[in-house]
Amino acid sequence: MGIIIKNIYKSFAKQAVLDNLSLTVKKGEFHVILGPSGEGKSTLLGVMAGLIQPDQGDVYIQQQRVNKLAPEKRKIGFVFQNHALFPHLTVYENTAYGLRARGVNGKKIKKIVAHYLELVKLQELHDRYPFQLSGGQKQRTAIARALAFEPDALLMDEPLSHLDVLEHERIRDELKRIQTATQVTICYVTHDHSEAAALADKISILHNGRIEQVEQPEDIFYHPKTSFVAEFVGANNIFTANLIDVNEGISRFRLNSSESIAKLEIEAKTYPVFTRNTEQKLCLHPEKIAISHTPNGKNSFLARIIDIIPQGAVFKVTGEISGLKLRAVVPKTSFKINSHTEKIWFTFPPDALHPLCGRSCRAAIPQRVCKNINFE
């Protein structure tokens, strides 16, 4: 049943790092914990592995409570950010270390190590020392080493962050392949949302010492539930608006004056949480905005172009509508740049908008309440 973390508290120097955090990592799952740097992601992994003693709370591995169990008794593989290879041992010996420490016999070790070195494609480099390896090869060795003793789960602490762009992508794809092949439970920590999107079966967003949202990648990216998650995953068009009218499943909102000079009105699909006379935060993913030279139905606004950044197959276009900045991400194929174009229409369908939990969610209300709001 994987790893279960219950109500963990941990402070360093009186600063709460993990604050009543609970989390379940299912067996066989590729679970990514996504959050900004320095918000306790590594601490959480340390607690799971037994390297850090929490102030309070319980850790269960395979349904066994392991609070008092030393790390060497836990059967948890760990891949560190800096790979943490043993510099005096070869790739082969590094991989065999966990088996030797457990007293597995020599013949069996040889077979197992050969298997895992093949899995990470390092058979040929088995007698190299760490200093003779590239960054990616080091991290492959670290993965083989952590897998070789067949742990109950594999914890990975930003294992790709020290690789250069090319190796980063290569190892990321390898890792996904290895997990698919071995079906090992992985709990993976990162601050990079594109990494999370490419790898995760499930994503947990860690913020202010607790988990703010747990869902499949698609839902995290297109239906963030709090402003923080929305900003963090790049769903960064967030409006504060007041409901003025509901009509056949479509709600009309007027944007607050702090957002734009002209009081813009937008239409959104109606959600049960919408109530009149209270401020509501609405989130609009940049990829759901279409761009055109003519207006195009509901929620169509003429915007002054501020910035166009090409990025791979897409353009990131920032437009301004009487003081309101809108960020759109559009495929290059759908949009011809023209240096003379100064204004363009931004359009988004009413069902592209969804409500955010508001400020209160993160601060006071425990996670569960926020999760139970019926969104769709």
């Binding site: 390297l51 043993f86 005096h88 457990r102 200093f131």
Partner: protein, 268 residues
């Protein structure tokens, strides 16, 4: 950097540095001009000089062994474990380095003397520390072991925390980690530390002279021999022993340099 004309500032600094280097070099060369090769050999054939070399080697090698036996556990605990009072014990290791050796010798003299706490106890079994080679060993151990401990502690501390944590997550017991990780990775530090301890023990004078007295052929180490000869005006004998002592120091320095140049870079 691009080579450029030396500025006035650079010339001024170079001048001051030059004076200092000349001073050091002159002092060192002086030793080798003071005595001819023939005189050197003549001095070395004297049985008293020979005895002092034997005593120095004998005591200092025992000190090196004792330093490893007692010092390694101290370095291991101070670098890897966390416990109450660790900072206090850490400062305690600095004490023999900060104390003038002469004062350390004085304290040992009182401790092991006939009226001292331990001296009295040992007196019952007729064991004499003062004015014996045992005393020399105690004095040298006290003065030189901290250098070993500090070197080894540094070399164990240089092993990144994650590397040791990695060993634990791989299922290694603390003894397995010690044997297969800590020991091989701190090997160079240990050898360098032993070389430093040995050099220091051989060259120790203040503490040794306090505890050992100078019974020729029994407690007269090389340093005590140098002092005695110099004080009695026999400069040639003093220089001869001094040159031998320098020879030993250089061998040890050489080992140290080689060992340290091959240490592991963890942030490769």
């Amino acid at each position: 950097m691009i080579k450029k004309q030396f500025t006035f500032f650079d010339i001024f600094l170079t001048l001051l540095a030059g004076i200092f280097f000349t001073f050091i070099l002159l002092v060192f060369l002086m030793l080798f001009t003071a005595v001819s090769a023939g005189q050197l050999l003549h001095q070395l054939s004297s049985p008293l000089v020979f005895a002092s070399i034997r005593i120095s080697l004998q005591t200092s090698l025992i000190v090196v062994c004792l330093t490893f036996i007692f010092g390694f556990p101290v370095a291991y605990l101070l670098s890897l474990k966390t416990f109450k009072g660790k900072e206090f014990l850490d400062s305690l290791i600095d004490l023999p380095i900060v104390l003038p050796p002469l004062v350390s010798g004085l304290a040992l003299l009182i401790l092991f003397g006939g009226d001292g706490i331990i001296g009295k106890i040992l007196g019952h079994w007729d064991i004499r520390i003062i004015f014996s080679q045992k005393g020399i060993i105690c004095a040298q151990l006290f003065v030189s072991a901290p250098f070993f401990i500090k070197t080894v502690k540094e070399s164990i501390s240089a092993i990144p925390e994650e590397v040791i944590a990695a060993s634990a997550t791989l299922g290694a017991s603390s003894f397995y980690t010690f044997r297969c990780l800590i020991l091989p990775l701190s090997k160079n530090g240990i050898l360098a530390g032993l070389a430093m301890t040995w050099t220091r023990a051989m060259g120790e004078f203040g503490a040794t002279s306090m505890v050992a007295g100078c019974i020729p052929g029994q407690t007269e180490t090389m340093t005590i021999g140098i002092y005695m000869n110099a004080m009695s005006g026999n400069l040639e004998a003093a220089v001869a022993v001094g040159i031998i002592l320098i020879g030993f120091s250089f061998i040890s320095l050489f080992i140290l340099k080689i060992k340290f140049s091959r240490s592991y870079g963890y942030h490769y």
